[in-house]
């Protein structure tokens, strides 16, 4: 089927997975009210499963997108395989996050319909952000994702840490949105359009003329995204927010929000703003260097495993930035591959932390992991796989991902970045292996509390996640091939790729009068 975006129905088809997900979200919200009636307390279990069903349905709908073709590049939403691949990553992270969250939500009394609604809305925002080809859509989808994430962070109303994390996240996030928005406005001023395809051809001209408005716009957009992906020095909010948020939410944010932010960065900055490369390469190069070095050093000193993983997630943003700086299609493929693996392993690691923490989310210290590997063999084994993959040991997916980032960086001539990536990875071994050491080589104290046995959904999802990491590390051929095809599909095209005038939908044509 061919979509030319000449009628609104075309958008309905192009946005099929997002529409399915948003409809499920609204449905969850409504049925939750009716099933609860006048009773207070947690929702029935099937409300959560409805949300999971919606995510699975959206996965099917997303696969269906492959049937569509959009020859012109005038739509507000991209129809390339990069968007579809990112949608799979985001939906996979959402499904995994939900499966792993059920136990936690029940334990903390947070098992209510609004939680699932917010997770689904955040996912819709992430998917739209990853696929947007219009600056207005970029802003609105980013805000949809961020607003849902702010509320999810503060979802545990009884816990002051949760409220504190939400406030810090909200203030810094809204501040960053302001920068991004100003950047978008300046880009619009410099190019005269919000449609990214039109922006690109204007940027080519503007870059030749040395347009100041354009340079400021590009720089502000990069800074806005740097906040969202928590690149140093715009990372101040991340450790506090990740530590204070309910643990499943932390895992979901670390994976989903970062994946969507990077997808937008890859699409908008490295492809659509490629003609202005001299502006952003320099900025992103320094961001990548700082983001690899600083959090890895701070993580060494952390006593809380949850906070350590928060710093580790910042460090991973640094590794991913290497792929962005490379700016080549190999860099985009490598970043995509690493994002997919990273979401699985980081959600898995945070889920184990949430389980070990016990009621009140209190036991997150390194000392609470003593002897865990012997007393809960399955949980310990899973944690080992997640941590080794985060550290980048073979034969895990994390190793393959880092290897491809290195190759992409060297090919693009950024040898210094590749060296820093390797050195900081070695530094990070210390704090990942320290947890494994505590789990297997130190005795648990007499009065240690054994973490509750996880439920069936948790076991299933965690084992599937661990297997996915191992399989992608042992047999990476297929995944690499897919990532390479997708990366090439996103490559910048010649400056004027239009067959028809690209007037965005819903905007009256002002050129005729």
């Amino acid at each position: 089927m061919i979509l030319d975006f000449s009628s609104p129905i075309d958008y309905l088809w192009a946005l099929l997975p997002e529409v399915v997900l948003a409809a499920t979200g609204l449905l969850v919200l409504v049925v939750d009210v009716f099933q609860r009636g006048s009773r207070s307390g947690p929702s029935r279990a099937w409300v959560g499963w409805t949300a999971v069903a919606g995510v699975l349905l959206a996965l099917v709908a997303n696969g269906y997108l492959l049937e569509f073709e959009a020859p012109g590049r005038s739509g507000m939403i991209a129809m390339d395989t990069f968007r579809i691949a990112m949608n799979f990553v985001i939906l996979g992270a959402t499904a995994l996050g939900l499966f792993l969250a059920f136990d936690y939500l029940r334990r903390e009394g947070m098992d209510i319909g609004e939680f699932y609604f917010l997770v689904l809305m955040a996912a819709v925002g992430m998917m739209l952000l990853a696929g947007s080809r219009d600056l207005i859509v970029v802003f609105v989808s980013l805000e949809l994702m961020s607003l849902s994430a702010y509320v999810l962070t503060g979802f545990n109303r009884k816990d002051p840490r949760s409220a504190e994390a939400a406030l810090k996240y909200f203030l810094m996030g809204a501040f960053a949105s302001g920068f991004l928005l100003y950047g978008i406005a300046l880009l619009f001023g410099a190019t005269g359009s919000t449609n990214l395809a039109l922006v690109t051809s204007e940027v080519t001209r503007g870059a030749q003329e040395g347009n100041l408005l354009l340079y400021a716009g590009v720089a502000l957009v990069v800074v806005g995204f740097a906040f969202k992906i928590s690149a140093v020095p715009f990372h101040m909010w991340t450790p506090d927010t990740y530590e204070g948020a309910p643990t499943p939410v932390t895992g979901y944010m670390a994976a989903g929000v970062k994946a969507a932010g990077f997808a937008a960065l890859l699409r908008i900055v490295t492809v659509e703003l490629a003609p202005a490369a001299e502006v952003w390469t320099e900025i992103l190069w320094w961001l990548a260097v700082l983001t690899m070095i600083v959090p890895n050093l701070i993580a060494l000193a952390q006593d809380s495993v949850k906070r350590m993983l928060a710093y580790s997630s910042i460090a991973h943003a640094g590794y991913l930035l290497v792929g962005v700086v490379a700016g080549s299609s190999a860099g985009r493929s490598a970043a995509l591959l690493y994002l997919a693996v990273y979401s699985v392993m980081t959600i898995g690691a945070f889920a184990v932390v949430g389980l070990v923490a016990g009621k009140g989310d209190s036991r997150t210290g390194l000392a609470d992991y003593r002897g865990l590997g012997w007393r809960r063999p399955l949980l310990g084994g899973l944690m080992v796989i997640f941590l080794l993959s985060l550290a980048g040991f073979p034969p895990t997916g994390g190793f393959i991902g880092k290897l491809y980032l290195l190759i992409a960086a060297v090919d693009a001539g950024h040898v210094a970045l590749a060296v820093i990536l390797v050195v900081t990875s070695f530094v990070s071994y210390y704090y990942y292996l320290r947890v494994i050491w505590k789990m297997y080589f130190e005795e648990a104290p007499e009065d240690a509390v054994l973490p509750a046995a996880p439920g069936g959904a948790f076991r299933l999802a965690a084992v599937v996640a661990a297997l996915a990491i191992l399989v992608s590390g042992l047999f990476p051929g297929r995944a690499i091939q897919t990532a390479e095809t997708v990366g090439q599909d996103l490559a910048p095209r010649p400056a004027t790729p239009f067959s028809q005038p690209a007037v965005p939908m819903g905007v009256p044509d002002t050129t005729t009068d």
């Binding site: 409220a163 406030l167 809204a174 619009f188 450790p239």
Partner: protein
């Protein structure tokens, strides 16, 4: 200089005042007001651009206003939630998590 340049300089100044406010003030509500000032500075920029670049910018302004309203709802709810725990809204005083 024409009126558009002056207006752009004005909106840049407003944006800078908002940024400075967020960085310098420690009261959560005032920080939030400064963020709103930043968003409205952007709105002014867009309206100025719409004089020469078309109606698209004014449509964008409505989106920004709607999003800012949603942001205000969520932000004030979060500030109320934290006020219930601490009885104050001074971000320097929240130190359960290292800032």
């Amino acid at each position: 200089m024409d009126i558009e340049t002056y207006s752009l300089i004005l909106s840049a100044l407003l944006f800078a005042i908002g940024t400075a406010g967020v960085l310098l003030r420690r009261n959560a509500i005032i920080m939030f007001m400064c963020i709103e000032l930043m968003l409205n500075a952007v709105n002014l920029t867009l309206v100025v651009f719409s004089r020469s670049l078309g109606i698209e910018a004014q449509v964008f302004v409505f989106f920004v206003m709607a999003v800012a309203a949603a942001e205000a709802a969520v932000g004030l709810a979060i500030i109320i939630a934290i006020f219930r725990h601490y009885e104050l809204v001074d971000v320097d005083r929240f130190n359960l998590l290292k800032w």
